[in-house]
């Protein structure tokens, strides 16, 4: 079915209208994080001064820093810090299950995940990294335009209830962020992580949950439906299910944690009722750590 041009235009404008808002929120979030030094902390090619070291045999004369050397008898070579751009690949769950909030006061999980993802992307771009999406749609690039493109891609919704992590076309030895509620099939996550680990990709799993998903505050006869409407479950006493549901959720988290431990990823849980700022900080540190671990 060809979409009606007017409807298409309408939805396109809706999307476009949402884009700056997402971008602005993400920028605002990112602006609150002061970038620490993101250098490799070793001498190498780069712009920033790293250290002076006495000239050794084999150093070409052109490398001698005469300004420093003139102060004494020893000849010094000026070394620069090794700076290299990393590729970071992002995947933010676009599935219908993410478009859920238990009360109107809270953002949906999708909103929160997108904002966090994009804010991280902005931080990374500012740090000079290349950022892109997993899969083939948006390979990692650097620059401000990439952020806009990212925002555009992240704003798209997927019709699936639970979408599996995108694991194709991952660049070896890059870093990755997977943000999702991980309510779908765990096998997909396992596949994606193993594949990433095979290619030497390290990263962070961001488990975004709504507080009601942690608390399960339901009572009485209830029919639970997934947001997309594909799954449903009826119970006569919802409060009876609570303990078993929480067990399953804990098991799901434990499984994710185990997978992360195996593959060298970081695992974090974020609830939509807690501050996005602290989540972003944690995310940024975790990204940094995964770099350090590798470095």
């Amino acid at each position: 079915m060809t979409p009606d041009p007017i409807t298409l235009r309408q939805s396109a404008e809706d999307q476009a209208a949402r884009l700056p808002a997402l971008l602005a929120r993400a920028e605002q979030l990112a602006g609150a994080v002061l970038l620490g030094d993101h250098g490799r902390r070793r001498a190498g090619t780069g712009d920033d001064f790293w250290q002076y070291r006495p000239a050794q045999a084999g150093d070409s004369r052109r490398m001698i820093d005469h300004r420093r050397s003139a102060r004494g008898d020893t000849q010094f070579v000026r070394e620069r810090e090794w700076q290299i751009a990393q590729s970071v690949m992002l995947w933010c769950d676009q599935g219908a299950s993410m478009r859920f909030n238990s009360t109107d006061a809270l953002p949906t999980k999708a909103e929160r995940a997108r904002v966090l993802t994009l804010a991280l992307a902005i931080l990374l771009v500012r740090g000079g990294e290349r950022v892109g999406l997993t899969g083939t749609r948006l390979p990692p690039r650097r620059g401000r335009m990439q952020v806009v493109r990212l925002a555009q891609m992240l704003s798209e919704d997927s019709a699936d209830d639970y979408s599996p992590p995108e694991h194709r076309a991952m660049i070896p030895h890059a870093q990755a962020l997977f943000a999702s509620d991980f309510m779908g099939d765990i096998a997909d996550v396992q596949l994606a992580l193993t594949k990433a680990a095979d290619r030497g990709v390290r990263g962070v799993l961001m488990h975004v949950l709504d507080p009601s998903e942690e608390a399960f505050p339901f009572r009485g006869r209830t029919i639970f439906e997934s947001v997309g409407g594909t799954l449903r479950h009826e119970t006569l006493k919802a409060n009876d299910l609570r303990d078993r549901y929480l067990e399953r959720l804990a098991a799901r988290k434990a499984e994710l944690q185990r997978l992360c431990a195996l593959t060298g990823w970081h695992y974090g849980v974020h609830h939509t009722d807690s501050s996005a700022q602290s989540a972003l900080l944690w995310l940024y540190r975790a990204m940094d750590r995964s770099v350090m671990v590798r470095g």
Binding site: F100, T222, I223, E225, H233, L236, Y245
Partner: protein, 920 residues
């Protein structure tokens, strides 16, 4: 109709459905509540989980109970419940004679009685009987007519404020004998009276008699008396019963003349007693305003008692001409008056000027000959307004020229000089006795004791109009008492002394009775018939059976003895009667009245009034059921979680919407008033120019801070005042910066401003233009000031004189600079008579605070500080400028001190200290 427990059911078989309720209970409990659909991403984790037991949550028992109750109410409502169901009765036939007592005792239950009678008439109409109605208190020939015809005439029957007397009973018995009715119905008032048995006998000759009466205890009040400094009240009841308290209300008029309840008292009937006593101690002024006492809820002429002069203690001022003869009690001109009046009147002592403002009822001048013109004028005014001036002659009057050539306004007749003395050692003749009083005299009917002798008197000048002024004369025809009406009041002159010097009159009982007749004193006990011999009393207001007073209109006057003795009847209505200035109340019950309940022989069936008419309860029950169902909706929603917090809030909000809204604006006003009055608050007039208002606010803030630091005045934050809406009375000082474009206040605002100025407020006008404070026509601000101040009540002004108190209230100042220095600061002009005393640094000007200070020095600009206390605007240059700012602050301090302490520093007591500081 089936009757269960006093409630009838039109469809009793429906009640069987109540048995189905337990079954319904079981069924309802078994059915689970409808499921809720919830979006929940975590459903993926739920898949495969099964419920532990297949039974869902049961509906809670209280909700079930609610529903059961609603269903039960519906069933009950449908079964047609009726309260007070009617039962059938046998048919009767033949003419029916209805006899009404129609006395005051039935007034309290009259509507119920009429309603019951209506029911009886309806039944008679249903039985096709003719009916006649006979009211015993107004016996008229009974006319037998269709019952429906009588129904329309029932409203015409009203209770009468008397009980049938023997003549009326005779008439009634005769009419009953002639009526030819076959049965009789007697609507009684539950109170016995003479001749009741005769009427009953007459009725029984006709046929069966049945009696309907309220059966309630009749209450009554006997006339109030005054004894031991309190009003003694006594309530009666017909039948002795258990202990009971009744409330007696003292009704009267408040100072504004509106009828109100002035006091209440509780009277307790002891167990088995038929009489309850209570007393009410009230100030004389309040007591005089009471018009009647009534038993609360009595609603009959018997349950109230009207008051008359016996409760009213008149205020009598006694003034004697001679006050220099101390110790001669029995010769004091006032001694006998005091003795005669003290039991029945409140006596005032003092000079004429002191007692006149108290507005006494009577002023007695004993041998007072001369008064100042002012006193005479005031006294004449007082008499014109209804006062009674009672004068006694004496040596002073006889010796003076008062009323000699022309009638003195305060004398009833012209007097001949010297007076005369008869029967003394140096004169011929015998002392004279009194002639019988003429029938036009207020004393007519009083007995004249034989031993009253007059040996000296002042003589009235004979004249054509003397005769009508005389109200008592001696046996030789010379006047003893003369009287003149003046406006609403009168002047009475006794031609003898008030003591026993000239006559023995003050020693006799006649003297007291004459004072009584003149309404100088009032009897505290009910008058005897003999006391009122010869008087005619005009009815002022008469009472109907309900105890409602109405104007007597053209009812004829009644002779005094008749008024006391005659039984009440159509010719002798209870009410207020007046004669001359005296008032007498005739009440339904006399002091010795006893209420006896009516007793009927055992053969006569006696019933009470019909109880309430049948009332269908179905609608009420259905309504209740509906309410319960509505509750059930809310409860069900809440239970299933559909009534979330937001929706709950909406519901609560909807509930709140129905409640009356609080008056926020009023609260704001009150809040503002509290803020303005809990501390001293300086205020400025809002001009509408934001810059000027801001500077004014900041200026007053700076001044307030200065006052706080330097003086014991600790002002709160200053306020802006909108002249149109805000109350000015809270502020001691109003700073009014003038801008050319500010709106002119409304007339009401000007009225408030003038009130403010007159009640001690001070307005500091500031044209802020440095040069035209002297009402210059040059600057726009000056012209605006002229325009604004024109309607204000501003006195004559002058530039601040060098000895004005403003120059020394706190600091010693000679200049009053603001941002500008100009000498032209104007205040209220000092009084023209103020002279400087030699050696004093300033004049003695102990007048009020000047209501306005007018200048153009832009003081607020000099005072203005910002939030951190730094000056906002520059003043002058360098150190000199700062000095000028300091002087501006000093002027502000002086001004506020002047406002708050007035001319305290103008007091000469400060002179030495000030001289010292001034270095003189």
């Amino acid at each position: 109709m089936t009757i269960l427990g006093g409630i009838g059911f039109t469809a009793p078989w429906l009640l069987v459905a109540l048995a189905a309720l337990p079954i319904l209970w079981l069924i309802l409990r078994a059915v689970p509540p409808a499921p809720i659909r919830r979006r929940f991403p975590g459903v993926a984790l739920l898949l495969g989980l099964t419920d532990a037991d297949a039974v869902s949550d049961r509906t809670p028992w209280w909700l079930m109970l609610l529903r059961m109750l609603a269903v039960a109410l519906v069933i009950l409502g449908l079964s047609g419940p009726v309260m007070n169901p009617q039962t059938e009765r046998a048919r009767e036939s033949g003419p029916l004679l209805v006899v009404l007592d129609g006395t005051w005792a039935g007034a309290a239950h009259w509507p119920q009685m009429i309603e019951t009678l209506q029911g009886e008439l309806n039944r008679a109409a249903a039985d096709d009987r003719t009916v006649a109605v006979l009211q015993l208190t107004r016996p008229e020939a009974p006319a037998f007519q269709a019952a429906n015809t009588w129904s329309t005439r029932l409203a015409g029957f009203q209770p009468e404020p008397w009980q049938p007397d023997s003549a009326q009973i005779d008439t009634a018995v005769e009419l009953i004998a002639q009526s030819g009715a076959s049965s009789a119905l007697w609507m009684g008032d539950s109170l016995a009276y003479d001749g009741q048995d005769r009427v009953l006998a007459a009725l029984e000759t006709l046929g069966p008699v049945s009696v309907v009466q309220s059966g309630q205890n009749t209450l009554g009040m006997t006339p109030a008396t005054y004894a031991d400094g309190a009003v003694q009240l006594s309530a009666l009841r017909a039948a002795a019963g258990p202990a009971r308290a009744v409330t007696v209300l003292a009704q009267g008029r408040d100072p504004a003349g509106n009828p109100t309840t002035l006091a209440t008292a509780q009277a307790e009937f002891a167990d088995g007693a038929t009489e309850a006593q209570t007393e009410l101690a009230l100030p004389a002024e309040l007591r005089a305003r009471i018009t009647r006492f009534e038993i609360q809820g009595g609603r009959s002429a018997g349950a109230l008692t009207l008051t008359d002069d016996s409760l009213r203690r008149r205020e009598v001022a006694l003034i004697a001409g001679r006050t220099d003869r101390e110790g001669l009690e029995l010769l004091s001109p006032l001694h006998y008056l005091q003795q005669a009046l003290a039991p029945t009147a409140d006596l005032l002592d003092g000079a004429l000027d002191d007692v006149l403002p108290a507005n006494p009822d009577v002023i007695v001048l004993a041998d007072v000959a001369t008064m100042t013109d002012d006193e005479s004028a005031k006294l004449a005014d007082w008499v014109e307004e209804g006062g009674l001036l009672l004068r006694f002659a004496g040596p002073h009057v006889a010796a003076s020229d008062i009323s000699r050539d022309a009638i003195d306004p305060l004398m009833p007749v012209r007097l001949r000089s010297g007076g005369r003395s008869v029967g003394g050692a140096m004169s011929w003749g015998e002392p004279k006795s009194l002639a019988p009083f003429r029938d036009s005299s207020p004393f007519f009917g009083l007995n004249i004791p034989d031993d009253v002798r007059v040996s000296a008197q002042v003589m009235a000048q004979p004249g054509p109009d003397l005769a009508e002024a005389v109200i008592a004369d001696l046996s030789d025809g010379t006047p003893l008492v003369t009287r003149k009406r003046m406006g609403q009041g009168q002047v009475v002159l006794f031609h003898v002394t008030a003591n026993a010097e000239w006559s023995t009159l003050p020693l006799s009982g006649l003297f007291v009775e004459m004072l009584e007749r003149l309404a100088v004193s009032s009897a505290t006990t009910a008058p005897e018939a003999a006391d009122l011999q010869g008087t005619v009393w005009q009815p002022e207001q008469v009472m109907d059976g309900y105890g409602v007073l109405r104007d007597a209109g053209t009812l004829p006057g009644i002779e005094g003895p008749t008024l006391v003795d005659a039984p009440l009847g159509p010719q002798m209505l209870p009410g207020i009667y007046a004669s001359e200035d005296r008032f007498l109340a005739r009440n339904v019950l006399t002091a010795d009245a006893v209420l006896t309940p009516a007793t009927w022989p055992a053969r006569i069936p006696v019933t009470g009034f019909r109880s309430a008419p049948p009332e269908a309860l179905g609608g009420l029950l259905m309504g209740l059921a509906l309410l319960l169902l509505a509750l059930d909706v809310v409860a069900s929603l809440a239970l299933s979680g559909r009534l979330g917090p937001t929706r709950g809030a909406v519901a609560a909000l909807a509930l709140l919407m129905m409640m009356p809204q609080g008056a926020d604006a009023q609260d704001d006003d009150i809040q503002r008033a509290i803020e303005a009055t809990s501390e001293v608050v300086l205020a400025h007039v809002l001009t509408g120019n934001a810059d000027v208002d801001e500077i004014a606010q900041a200026g007053l803030r700076g001044l307030s801070d200065t006052l706080y630091f330097r003086t014991s005045v600790e002002p709160a934050l200053p306020m802006g005042v909108n002249l149109e809406t805000d109350d000015l009375a809270f502020f001691p000082l109003l700073y009014w910066p003038i801008t050319p474009d500010q709106p002119r206040p409304s007339a009401e605002a000007y009225a408030r401003l003038n009130d403010y100025l007159r009640s001690g407020g001070l307005i500091l006008f500031d044209t802020r233009d440095a040069n035209v404070a002297g009402f210059g026509t040059a600057s726009p601000n000056g012209r605006k000031l002229q325009d604004l101040a024109a309607p204000l009540d501003i006195p004559a002004l002058e530039p601040v004189p060098s000895d004005h108190v403003l120059t020394r209230t706190f600091y010693l100042l000679q200049d009053f600079p603001g941002r500008y220095t100009s000498r032209d600061v104007w205040v209220e002009a000092s009084p023209p008579g103020a002279e400087q005393v030699e050696g004093m640094p300033f004049r003695n000007l102990n007048d009020g605070v000047t209501p306005v200070v007018i200048g153009g020095n832009d003081w607020a600009g000099a005072w203005a500080v910002d939030a951190s206390g730094n000056p906002m605007l520059p003043v002058g240059r360098g150190f000199g400028g700062e000095r000028q700012r300091e002087l501006a602050y000093r002027f502000g301090v002086n001004l506020v001190m002047h406002v708050l302490t007035g001319n305290y520093k103008s007091d000469q007591v400060h002179v030495p200290a000030l001289l010292d500081r001034l270095g003189q």
